[in-house]
Symmetry: C2
Subunit: 116 residues, 2 copies
DNA sequence: ACTATAGTTAGCTTTATGGCTAACCAATCA
DNA sequence: TGATTGGTTAGCCATAAAGCTAACTATAGT
C-alpha cells in the first residue's frame, strides 16, 4: 500500500465519493454506481484504482461484487499527515521560544538604556 | 484550495519530499532542488503544482524565490480524513453494540433452554 | 562592464488518466 | 431454456502529467 497510490486515488472526486459511501458500510458495484451519471465500465475503473491503492477491498459472490473500505489505508495517510504536523509544530514552538527570548533581551536592554 | 488538487499534489513522492523539507522551514528553489537528480525546470513544475494546490506559497526577492509551507492546506486534508474516520467508527460502534445485543439474547435464550 | 548565479519560458516526448461504446460472460429468474 | 441482471473486457479518444533540453532574463558579485 503505497502513499503515492493512496493519495492518487483520493485525488478524484468520484473516488472520494465512493470512499465516503463505503464509510457507511459495504456496497455492491451496482449500488456504488447509482449516484453517478458515469457508464459502468468507467466507474469500475475507479473501483479498480481504489482497490489497487489498498483503500477498498472487494469480493464476488454469485454475480455481485461487494466492496468494503480498508480503513488501514486511510489511517496510513492520516499517519503521514500527523508526522508532518508534528515536525512543523515543533519548529513553530522553537520559533516562538526564540521570539520570547528576543523580547526579554529587548526589555533588559531598554532598562539598561534608561539607567544610563 | 480544492481537495482534488491537494491530494493530487501529494500523490507524487518528489512533491511530498518537498513538503517534508518545508515542514522544517522556508527554502529557496535552489535549496529544494539540491537533493534531487531532476533538471531544474522539472522541479519548478512540481513547485508550481504545490503552489496551485495551496500547499506552498512563494515569493521572489531579488533573484531568489523563497518557498514556505501553507499548513492550512494540509490541515484541510487532515480534516477530511478525520470526518471519514468519525463516520466509519460510528458505524463500527453501532455494529459492536448490535453484536453485544445479539450475544445477550443468545445467553438469555440459553438460560431459557436450560430451564426448560 | 563581465561573469556567474538563480530562475524562467518554450517546446518536445512518453506515459497515465478519465471517459466512452460495444460486445461479452455468468448467474438468476420465469 | 430463454431473458434479465450484474459485471467484465477490449479498444478507442482527448487531455494532462512528468520528465527532458535549449535558450532566455534578471540580479549580484568582481
Amino acid at each position: 500500500m503505497q502513499l503515492d497510490h493512496v493519495f492518487g486515488a483520493l485525488s478524484d472526486a468520484t473516488r472520494r465519493a465512493i470512499v465516503m459511501r463505503l464509510c457507511d458500510g459495504e456496497a455492491s458495484v451496482g449500488e456504488l454506481a447509482k449516484p453517478f451519471e458515469m457508464a459502468l465500465p468507467s466507474l469500475m475503473k475507479h473501483i479498480r484504482i481504489l482497490e489497487s491503492s489498498g483503500l477498498v477491498a472487494s469480493e464476488k459472490t454469485g454475480r455481485v461484487r461487494m466492496c468494503s473500505l480498508q480503513t488501514e489505508a486511510l489511517a496510513t495517510v492520516e499517519g503521514w499527515l500527523a508526522v508532518q504536523r508534528e515536525i512543523w509544530e515543533q519548529r513553530l514552538d522553537r520559533l516562538e521560544t526564540y521570539v520570547e527570548k528576543l523580547k526579554k533581551r529587548e526589555k533588559s536592554n531598554a532598562r539598561k538604556r534608561r539607567s544610563k
